[in-house]
C-alpha cells in the first residue's frame, strides 16, 4: 500500500527581511532592447512571451535601445522628467506636513513616478483614468494646481471635496481623474464599464485603469479582465507591481513563479510586462496600448515592474518587514535618475537644469502650501461648513437628512 506523506501548507515569504538582503532574482528581468515589439493588432495569445519577459528601452548607460525605442520629442521627455521631479518634491513636502499634523494621512509614490506620468502623456484630453491612491503623478503631469491638491489634503475650506474624503482620495473630473475610493480594486471594473460606455456611444475616448499588485487578488480584478475581454472594451488595464502590498510581498498576491501580465493572457487580453522605472518604455508601451484601444483592437493589460521605495503610507513603518536598503538594491533603479541620465546623454538636460528645476519646484510647492494653508488645515479646523456634510448624499436632500441637519443645529 502506498505511503502518503503529510501535506504541508505553502505560505510564500519574501527572500529579504529586516537585517538580510532581498534576492531580486525572482524578478524575471530582460536586457534593454531584448523584448520584441508585437504589432498593435496582435492576438492575445501571441503576447504570451511578452507576459513573461520585460520590455525595457533604457540600458544601464542611459541609452535608448531596441524595438520599443522610438523618436520621442526631447521636449516631451523633459516635461516628463520635470513632472516626476515635481511629484517627488510634492510627496516629500506633504510627508512633512502630515508629520506636522496639518493632515491626518498621506501616501507617497516614491519610485513609481514614471508610470502615471508617461501614460497620461500618451493619453488624450477626454480619456478617463481610474486611479488607485498612488497615482498623484496623473494630476501633477497635467499641471493640476498643487494648491487644489493640497486643499484636499488639508480638508480646508477650499477642498473641492468639502472635507468628506481622506487625504489623497482626489477627484478631478476635468483632468480625467476618477474619484478615488478607499475600497481596493473597485475602480478596475468601473474603468471597463466606462470604456464600454464610450464604445456604446460610438465615442473615441478610452479608459485607463490602475491597480496595485496586492489588489489583483480582489475579485474585481478578475471581473474587470473578464468584462474587458468579453466586450473588447477600449481600456488599458495597468497593474503596478511595486512588490509590496503594505507588508505583504507580491508572492502573497499570487506572484510567485508567475507574473501579473500572465493573468491578462489567460483572460484573452493582449498583455505586456514592462520596466516601470524606464520612462521611455512606459511611454512606448502606453502608446501601443492607446493605439490598440483607440483602434477598436481591444483592451491591453500591462504589468509595470517597479518598487515601492517609500513606506506604504504615513501610518506604515517598512523597517518592520523588509530590509532598510531594499530600494538601493532594486535592479531597475530610480526612474528619475534613469531618465535624467538619458536626457543628459542626448544633450537635452544638464545637472545645472536638474538643480535649478528642483529649486524652482521646491519654491512652487512651498508657495502653494502657504496659499493652501491660508485656507486652513485639519489642525486649524478651517473646513467647509458642517451643513455641507448632509449635501450630495442624494441629488436632492430627503426629509430625514434635512431633519438631521436641523438636529445638528446647522
Amino acid at each position: 500500500m502506498r505511503q502518503n506523506i503529510p501535506l504541508r501548507l505553502h505560505v510564500p515569504e519574501p527572500s529579504g527581511r529586516p537585517g538580510h538582503a532581498t534576492d531580486f532574482s525572482y524578478l524575471r528581468l530582460a536586457a534593454a532592447g531584448a523584448a520584441r515589439k508585437p504589432p498593435v493588432d496582435t492576438s492575445a495569445i501571441d503576447t504570451t512571451d511578452m507576459a513573461y519577459t520585460l520590455v525595457r528601452v533604457l540600458d544601464d548607460d542611459g541609452n535608448a535601445t531596441g524595438p520599443w525605442a522610438q523618436a520621442i520629442a526631447p521636449e516631451l521627455l523633459r516635461k516628463g522628467l520635470q513632472s516626476m521631479i515635481k511629484t517627488r518634491i510634492f510627496d516629500a513636502r506633504m510627508l512633512i506636513a502630515q508629520r506636522q499634523k496639518k493632515m491626518s494621512f498621506y501616501m507617497q509614490s516614491l519610485g513609481e513616478e514614471a508610470i502615471g506620468t508617461a501614460q497620461v502623456m500618451a493619453l488624450s484630453k477626454g480619456d478617463m483614468c481610474f486611479p488607485s491612491y498612488r497615482q498623484q503623478n496623473l494630476l501633477i503631469a497635467q499641471d493640476v494646481p498643487l494648491f487644489d491638491m493640497m486643499c484636499q489634503l488639508f480638508s480646508n475650506d477650499r477642498d473641492r471635496l468639502k472635507g468628506r474624503q481622506l487625504p489623497v482620495m482626489y477627484s478631478v473630473r476635468d483632468a480625467g481623474f476618477f474619484s478615488i475610493s478607499g475600497n481596493l480594486a473597485t475602480q478596475f471594473v468601473q474603468a471597463v464599464g466606462w470604456a464600454m460606455a464610450s464604445a456604446i456611444k460610438g465615442d473615441t475616448k478610452i479608459a485607463s485603469a490602475w491597480i496595485g499588485d496586492g489588489a489583483t487578488a480582489a475579485a474585481d480584478f478578475q471581473t474587470a479582465l473578464t468584462f474587458a475581454h468579453v466586450y473588447q472594451a477600449p481600456v488599458i488595464l495597468n497593474v503596478i507591481n511595486n512588490q509590496w502590498a503594505i507588508s505583504s510581498f507580491q508572492a502573497l498576491a499570487g506572484g510567485e513563479s508567475t507574473t501579473f501580465a500572465a493573468r491578462g493572457v489567460g483572460s484573452g487580453i493582449a498583455s505586456l510586462r514592462v520596466d516601470g522605472n524606464d520612462f521611455l518604455a512606459v511611454y512606448a508601451a502606453s502608446q501601443w496600448a492607446v493605439e490598440r484601444a483607440r483602434g477598436n483592437l481591444g483592451p491591453t493589460l500591462i504589468e509595470w515592474v517597479t518598487y515601492r521605495a517609500g513606506p506604504h503610507s504615513t501610518s506604515d513603518d517598512p523597517s518592520k518587514y523588509r530590509p532598510a536598503d531594499d530600494w538601493a538594491r532594486f535592479p531597475l533603479g530610480d526612474p528619475i535618475d534613469r531618465l535624467k541620465r538619458h536626457l543628459i546623454g542626448i544633450g537635452a538636460w544638464s545637472e545645472e537644469e536638474q538643480h535649478s528645476t528642483q529649486k524652482a519646484y521646491e519654491a512652487e510647492v512651498i508657495a502653494a502650501q502657504k496659499q493652501a494653508e491660508s485656507h486652513g488645515t485639519l489642525a486649524t479646523g478651517q473646513t467647509s461648513s458642517v451643513a455641507s456634510m448632509f449635501e450630495d448624499v442624494y441629488k436632492d436632500m430627503p426629509w430625514h437628512l434635512r431633519r438631521q441637519r436641523q438636529q445638528l443645529g446647522v
Binding site: R160, S181, N183, M196, A197, I200, K201, F227, W399
Partner: protein, 364 residues
Amino acid sequence: MNMDDTSLKQKTTPMTMIQALRSAMDVMLERDDNVVIFGQDVGYFGGVFRCTEGLQAKYGRSRVFDAPISEGGIVGAAVGMGAYGLRPVVEIQFADYFYPATDQIVSEAARLRYRSAGEFIAPLTIRMPCGGGIYGGQTHSQSPEALFTHVSGLRTVMPSNPYDAKGLLIAAIECDDPVIFLEPKRLYNGPFDGHHDQPVVPWSKHPLGNVPDGYYTVPLESASVFRAGAELTVLTYGTMVFVADVAAAESGIDAEIIDLRSLWPLDLDTIVASVKKTGRCVVLHEATQTSGFGAELTALIQEHCFYHLEAPIERIAGWDTPYPHAHEWAYFPSPKRVGEAYRRVMGTMQGSHAGDGAATREAR
C-alpha cells in the same frame, strides 16, 4: 393609487407585472439614448422571467445585452457607465444573489456623488426579483431590503402591482440617485394574498393590471393608501400588501393598508397621518424580523406618533431563520398570522409576540 395626469389620458392595456416592467424599460429605451440594459440572460433570451423579452431585437445589442455571471462586474461596470454619462438599468437575477455586488453597491454606487462632491454620479437602477411564497428555498426567496435601506445614498423601491411597477420603474430610471428596484416575483403574474391553496387570479382580472401604454411615473417617496380604514394602520409593501388586505377582510377589522412603494427614503407624511388617525399600527414584511426594515418603521412611528398610539406596535415578519423549502407556508406570514396581529392590536385577542417575561420563560 396615485394616478398622475399623464397616465389618465392614455390608452391602457391589461399587463402582468412582468409586462409592465418590460413596458417601462421599452419606454425608457425609446425616450433616452443613454439608457442601457444588461444582466445575466437579459439580452437574446429576454430574461429568465421574460422581463426584457424583445428589447434586444428592438434596440440592438449595444443597448440591451447579456452579461457574464458576475454580480460585482455587472454593478461595477454600470457604475463606470454612469460616470461616463449613461443611465444603466441592470438586473441581478435574484435578490438572493446581490451579495457579490455588495462592495460596488455600498462602497461605490451609493457613495460616488458624496465622495466626489457631485463630480461623478451613479444614476443606476438595479432590478432584483425578490421575495418568497414560490417554494424558492433559501436562495430564491430572500427579501434583503434592510441591507439596502441601511445604506446612505441608496433609494430602495418595491412595487406591488403592474401599474405601480411601470410608473415606479420609469421614475427609478429617471432618478439621478442609485435605485435598488426590488420586484416581488410572487406578484409577477398575479396578486397573491397568501392563500396558497386557492388558484391564483391573473393580473388581467385586477384593476391595477390596467397599465397605460406610454410614459408616466409614480413618484418616488410616495406611499399609496391601498385600502382606506379607520381602526388600525398597516405599514407594508410588496406581496404583503395583498396578505394585509385579505386579513382585513377575514378579520372584519377596518385596517388602513399603506403600500410604502418607496421603502427609503419613504413618504413619512402619509404614514404619520394614518397612524395619528387610527392610533394603532401593524408593521408587516416577508423579510426576517430582527433588524429588518420593520424595526425602522416601528421606531419612526414611536417617534412621530407616540401620543396617538393606543396599543403597542406589532411587527409581523418572516421568522429569524434562513428561508426554508418544505416549510414555506409556516414561514411566509399568512393571512391568519396577520389577522391575529390585527386582533391583538385591537385588544380583541390575548397574547403578544412582544416576548414578555412569561413568554421568554416558556420559550426556554
